[in-house]
Symmetry: C2
Subunit: 449 residues, 2 copies
């Protein structure tokens, strides 16, 4: 206690701060009371007689239990997920997208968004040699994508986000990437993460339209990873769902572009990663392919039911006339307001440091600042057989007990270096971390100059 | 209410009885109090102050929460599963196997046994053409295996269980199957389910030894699906774990035969399917392959934490000196005693019906009786483009509202017909179902004679 050992050496810091994973609860965020009350009631229905729980939480729990086999969350559900929860998801999407209709039959619940994303890639990838499926992913990317593509022996087609324009997506770059790829594979899918991980950008409506037009022209299946849809902080930024923009572009697009959108219980204000709740909505999917999908998801029986229950609460939160509403809103707002504050702080503090340049954290939970490394440090890293930004992050961990992920883990333009840091630590701790990293960066630069 | 419609037609029965899936809670089995109390405490730790909960349930919940990031089951765990739970699993295995040691590093927690089985197959399958991996599975089989193998483009090598000898496994049949398969693929894996699904047999110690010897001789990786390890009912039958037998055969075997064993929270006395808890233990796995496995499981982040917590309680149940012990044992014993009674009833009643022959349900949760179908029924089914036992089951569903799975869904010897029924309905309902099926069988036989 109060001591810290890294690689067998006692350290001048008292704890390792893990700012490397987007795991809100692990960083001290408290669960939202309403969500956990309902989950406890579902797990142990004897509590339904307890007057400690508000009526709306009991009513939600009863509704979920009634939809479960034998009224127990210990029963398997259907593979696609519990029907009434899929209906709630569809209603949530309709409300979010101002009335654009959503069909519960197009909703597939999953073991987190990860499971849905991997399943969808698996469904879409096929072919051999020059016919191998190509999948376009942004660089920097969220490593789930590259890992899944490698696993499926699909061709990863990189398109680079424009760091100089706040990590925005440039259609000319998409065209370059797909044209080059057509020489050696069959590009069939484009993946977009919005708001972005690791880069924290929020896409403009215009950009989304352009991507949809591009997907249509190039006959690409569009995978929209929208797990950070509630995590938008920057003034002037707003979350636009790909589905909504697609439908607002008219039938020429809304009836032709094939798409899947992904959401999760792990992010936003709830941060409930451990429950592994998530869903995807598929749009304009060929009925035969959809039948394949339904078969594919049936192999593993069903997603975990507690995660499904949690997802139900997320898409169907307390309403203004319900007893849990005020507390729920207070907790939700506090989390999102703190994240917004921390997003601002992060950009601000890093940009005061010579050699660190940081785009605004418009959304999601990460910053991906660019770091200038002295040539001597680059040489030293290479001599030790290490990637330079890994060398940097390891030194930071050893000297300050702060754990980040080197940019090379996400991909970056040749010759540039970055790290990813989450903005999840509590405000005071985050300030401390930002200060420590800033000091370290200056020291590191001096040491190798 | 009180009316039942199948395929748009009003039926003479008032409910459809689903005796087709091994889903205990869906069939009315009540959750074990202790398990659910701890899960509720983990979900909503405010309840730790509630004096309604016994101390041992609180102490378990505290211990689990302390092992979670930020003390919340809403945090991701490590991909292999929470360390202290893997330790508890290892201790459980050691106790079960009378002291044979188990290393927590060899335990991988999973999203149900399904996930672990699919992951392991994926890890072991490779090659193309005549080098394609062959995987031996029993016929009748649990369809997860054939689906996963088809998905991985592996070669399924069937070995037939001996219906005349209580569905036992015959080494000569294994030899026949592997020898034939070596002509066109590379047999690398043998899968065994013990106690068996759908066939309900429990393997003798001798048989397990023979299988292990066979695996060693043929250089096969042994996958032992032991999810029904507590479900043994027949007099003279006992569960022998493959691991224990392997180690009792001495170092010639225990240090060479590669093996994985699977367990789950879905079966036994708890029947908690919805939580998707499970684990596998790997033994003698090549370190490089194990590193691959560790990488493979990391793609999807982690198994659901509530399922991990539940598994922890299953492997570390209340002890005699703890306040929950008596109630826990009473509930557990009641479930297992009822299953044993129903296993006996099922065999007994079916064997009174001419045209139904039923092996003893020694273990697991199913009976797989053989049915004699009149030639006219077989012809009629074929004329309608249906497999004969599917024709039979559909007719049973329409006329009696009882849902079974035709034997063809599991594989059976050419020209034989079966169905699978679970023994999970409550005793009185099971008696009713057995009587209805018996009457139906006699009527069906008369109708087509
Ligand atoms: C962009 C993105 N997609 C998907 C996921 C996976 O989320 P889940 O926990 O729902 O599997 C994450 C998790 O960090 C993510 O950042
Ligand atoms: C033999 C066998 N293995 C594995 C499973 C899968 O169990 P789980 O729910 O843990 O995925 C089942 C489920 O019925 C089974 O019968």
């Amino acid at each position: 206690i109060g001591e810290c050992w890294v690689f067998g050496v006692k350290k001048p810091f008292t704890e390792v701060i893990k700012a490397n994973i987007g795991d809100a609860h692990a960083m001290g965020q408290k669960p939202i009371t309403f969500l956990r009350q309902v989950l406890a009631l579902c797990a142990y229905p004897d509590l339904l007689d307890d007057n400690k729980f508000p009526d709306d939480s009991k009513q939600r729990a009863r509704r979920i239990l009634e939809a479960c086999g034998g009224h127990s969350i210990g029963a398997y559900s259907s593979s696609q997920g519990i029907e009434c929860i899929r209906q709630d998801v569809a209603r949530y999407i309709e409300k979010r997208d101002d009335g654009i209709s959503s069909d519960p039959d197009n909703i597939y619940l999953a073991t987190g968004a990860s499971d849905a994303i991997v399943t969808m890639l698996k469904l879409l990838v096929c072919g051999k040699g020059r016919d191998r499926t190509g999948v376009m992913i942004s660089i920097p990317q969220y490593p789930l994508y590259s890992a899944a593509l490698a696993d499926l022996a699909a061709v990863q087609i990189n398109y680079y986000l424009d760091e100089d324009k706040c990590w925005s997506l440039d259609i000319a770059e998409l065209k370059r990437a797909v044209t080059a790829a057509r020489q050696h594979c069959n590009p069939r899918v484009i993946c977009i993460i919005n708001p972005g991980n690791p880069t924290g950008q929020v896409q403009s409506r215009q950009c989304i339209e352009d991507v949809i037009r591009f997907a249509k022209e190039e006959h690409l299946f569009l995978m929209a990873d929208e797990v950070y849809q509630d995590n938008v902080y920057a003034e002037g930024c707003k979350f636009h769902s790909f589905k909504r923009v697609l439908f607002e572009m008219g039938p020429e697009y809304s009836t032709t572009v094939e798409m899947a959108s992904f959401h999760s219980t792990s992010k936003c204000y709830m941060g409930e990663c451990g429950f592994r709740g998530g869903y995807m909505e598929v749009i304009n999917m060929d009925p035969e392919v959809k039948a394949q999908l339904t078969k594919l998801v049936s192999v593993r029986l069903c997603p975990p039911v507690p995660g499904q229950a949690l997802l139900d609460l997320v898409v169907n939160p307390p309403q203004p006339d319900e007893p849990s509403y005020d507390k729920f809103m207070k907790e939700r707002t506090a989390v999102l307001a703190a994240l917004a504050e921390k997003a601002g702080l992060t950009e601000q503090i890093f940009n005061t440091v010579p050699g660190i340049t940081c785009n605004p954290v418009q959304g999601a939970m990460y910053t991906f600042p660019r770091i200038t490394l002295p040539q001597k440090a680059i040489d030293k890293a290479k001599a030790e057989g290490q990637v330079p930004d890994m060398f940097y992050c390891m030194k930071l961990l050893e000297e300050e007990g702060i754990c980040l992920v080197p940019g090379s883990g996400f991909g970056q333009r040749e010759g540039t270096f970055h790290f990813r840091m989450t903005i999840l630590p509590p405000t005071e701790k985050l300030k401390f971390v930002l200060q420590k990293i800033s000091d370290f960066h200056i020291r590191f630069t001096q040491e190798f100059s």
